[in-house]
């Protein structure tokens, strides 16, 4: 019999039972909860008169709706305020730990789980949010769920799931100068499309992946959902253990040694078989940028938008509609295009390493006058560390301001919206029509490309400065 994949090892261990002619009942180790997709689930529990089965395996935070300035004040938008308050009431009633607004551990759900040591290898992790795939960077099975499923996990700590197929994507070789993990994942999506991994759980592997920090690995797993995958994961190794060690909720003492021993057994066996395998070379990847309205419409920054003839017949209509929305022409070069906003943040690139990379790049330079920049840490801990490392000061000297943590301009649910028709270079994960505000035009990039663009005021290849 062939060996097992990382995914299969974790999945098999968590199957409680299999429904006749149906899905598996999967036990869930960690459930993250936020204000937008949970109120109806808590209401469902109340209707049924039942409790949260394992409040200690559940953690809540408020992130989507919150403002990123003046967080000390009541939230101005009435509906947002109500939703955030509702979360607090529900957590109180059901005994779920909440790191709400102004808590020192508050932040974007996919940033705080890892940084508190709650996210660990071998776990099954869910959240009512598609970017839950982020946590897979630790070698866990992590995926987004709908609100009925949130209710299901709150009530029973289990979930009915059909077992997805497995795919391994290998990226080997050394990354070029100015090329970072965001470019790797945007490159993969540009190659296989937004449906390229539909129905699969993806393991990212290969020497390029192994060389990445945990922050960089999270960026890749975060966007696995944008290639259609149910989730993404990376085998745990010394880098993983080093990151977790000593964090708030990480195992300590002999517990730690025991845990690491178990985690070492997780990586896919050498003879494990995947339903599909793909291979990419790091040397083929340059800094990436999207030009359209889905994350698959990405190109190397030095190349031009494809011509209509180069696009497959069936997607030509979508392609044209997309360019019309962006007000770009087929064949246009991306470099030099005018930009109005630069957004650095989100669960994709709002971690300390991202702020560091941005700050290091702009140090001693100045923000271009035509640019409005929103630099938003992913959590209070990231904010505090940025403070400590002098990043805030570097930003301010260059004319940038660091805001307070939250999802911010990643989606237009809070006050941070890109005005209609404006161009935003963004380190987030979705460039859908209206995602950053009605009529907003988004181009997805890495923090380095965002930095280069912020100082010149137009789309700029970060390698020009390196």
């Amino acid at each position: 019999m062939a060996g097992k994949t990382l995914f299969e090892k974790i999945w098999d261990k968590h199957v409680v039972t299999i429904v006749d002619g149906g899905p598996s009942v999967l036990y869930i180790d960690r459930h993250f909860v936020h204000e937008v997709t949970s109120p109806q689930a808590f209401a469902g529990l109340k209707d049924r008169g039942i409790k949260v089965r394992r409040p200690e395996k559940t953690v809540a935070t408020a992130d989507h709706n919150i403002p990123t300035i003046e967080q000390e004040l009541p939230i101005r938008d009435e509906l947002s305020r109500f939703q955030v308050n509702k979360l607090a009431l529900n957590c109180e009633e059901f005994g779920v730990p909440l790191y709400g607004l102004n808590h020192k551990w508050n932040g974007i759900v996919h940033v705080i789980g890892p940084e508190l040591g709650i996210t660990r290898p071998g776990m099954t992790i869910v959240c009512g949010d598609s970017h839950t795939s982020t946590h897979g960077a630790f070698g866990s099975i992590a995926f987004g769920i709908g609100t009925s499923e949130v209710e299901m996990v709150l009530a029973t700590q289990t979930l009915l799931q059909n077992k997805p197929k497995t795919m391994r994507i290998n990226i080997d070789g050394e990354l070029g100068n100015g090329v970072v993990s965001k470019d790797i994942v945007l490159y993969i999506i540009s190659q296989i499309g937004t449906g390229g991994a539909t129905g699969y759980f993806v393991e990212f592997a290969g020497s390029s992946i192994r060389s990445l920090s945990m922050e960089a690995r999270m960026t890749i797993c975060n966007m696995s959902i944008e290639m259609g995958a149910r989730g993404g994961m990376i085998a745990p190794d010394e880098t993983t253990f080093e990151y977790i060690k000593g964090r708030e909720f990480a195992p300590k003492g002999t517990e730690w040694d025991k845990a690491v021993e178990e985690w070492r057994q997780l990586p896919s066996d050498a003879d494990a078989e995947f339903d599909k395998e793909l291979q990419f070379k790091a040397s083929d990847i340059e800094p990436m940028i999207t030009y359209g309205t889905n994350p698959g419409m990405g190109i190397g920054i030095s190349s031009s938008i494809p011509n209509l003839e180069d696009i497959e017949k069936s997607t030509q209509a979508t392609f044209s509609k997309s360019l019309q929305y962006m007000d770009f022409m087929p064949g246009d070069a991306m470099i030099g295009k005018k930009v109005d906003y630069v957004f650095v943040g989100s669960c994709t690139n709002g971690r300390i390493e991202d702020l560091r990379a941005f700050a290091e790049f702009i140090k001693g330079k100045k923000k271009a006058d035509n640019i409005t920049a929103w630099i938003v840490p992913g959590s209070h801990q990231v904010e505090a560390q940025a403070e400590e490392e002098g990043i805030r000061q570097i930003l301010e000297e260059a004319g940038f301001e660091m805001r307070q943590p939250g999802c911010s301009a990643c989606l237009a649910m809070n006050d941070d919206k890109i005005p209609e028709g404006n161009y935003a270079v963004s380190t987030s994960n979705r460039n859908f029509e209206g995602r950053q505000g009605p009529g907003a035009r988004t181009m997805l990039v890495s923090p380095l490309t965002a930095a280069a663009t912020a100082v010149t005021g137009k789309i700029t290849d970060p390698r020009d400065f390196l």
Binding site: P23, A43, G146, E149, L411
Partner: protein
């Protein structure tokens, strides 16, 4: 939320012959701030249904009294985009009990079944016949028989079989949802927890 039983449905249909209807069109993001499942039906297809000042747009089918019923018939690839369950709530909230299309996005299908809304996937040809018949006579009725997994145009057909996961079928027929099922196997969950603590 306990769901309504679904055994057999006979109804007229509301046609939306548009392809790739995504969840943002079914229920725009600005309506996601609610904290209950109620009221989403009022905003189903909001941007197609109302103009900027909130007046019904005459040319959209939901505002056309000619068409009514509990079956929504939609173009290929219905329900793609974000995983928001609010899309299913909006369709159920409006009063639909089944959606017929030639292809559904995965998560939407799941979300529908979790809310007692039956997604019926038919062939492209059958869908075409449906659209034409409804167009010709808006009073045309369709029978969806879940027990026999059959959809039939009244009075004389044609008719086509559709697929559904046997477990989900049982849930729909009995008005159980997944939570009822999981609560019932509490013993097994408990033993799993004991074995893994």
């Amino acid at each position: 939320m306990p769901i309504d039983k679904f055994v057999k449905l006979e109804s007229t249909c509301v046609p939306v012959p548009i392809e790739n209807v995504d969840t943002d069109q079914i229920i725009p993001a600005r309506f996601l701030k609610a904290t209950t499942r109620e009221g989403f039906g009022d905003n189903l297809f909001a941007d197609w249904r109302y103009d900027k000042s909130g007046n019904p747009k005459k040319d959209f089918v939901l505002n056309d009294p000619t068409f009514s019923g509990q079956i929504l018939v939609a173009g290929q690839n219905f329900g793609s985009g974000s995983s928001r369950e609010h899309a299913a709530w909006a369709i159920v909230g409006y009063g639909f009990k089944a959606v017929v299309s030639s292809f559904f996005a995965d998560i939407f299908k799941n979300n529908s079944l979790n809310n007692g809304l039956l997604p019926v996937q038919v062939s492209k040809e059958f869908l075409e016949v449906l659209f034409q018949s409804i167009e010709k006579d808006p009073k045309t009725k369709v029978v969806i028989d879940l027990e026999n997994q059959k959809i039939t145009l009244q009075p004389n057909g044609p008719s086509e079989s559709f697929d559904i996961n046997p477990y989900k079928k049982k849930c729909m027929l009995n008005g159980f949802d997944d939570i009822d099922y999981l609560l019932n196997i509490n013993n097994e969950i408990e033993s799993w927890e004991k074995a893994h603590s």
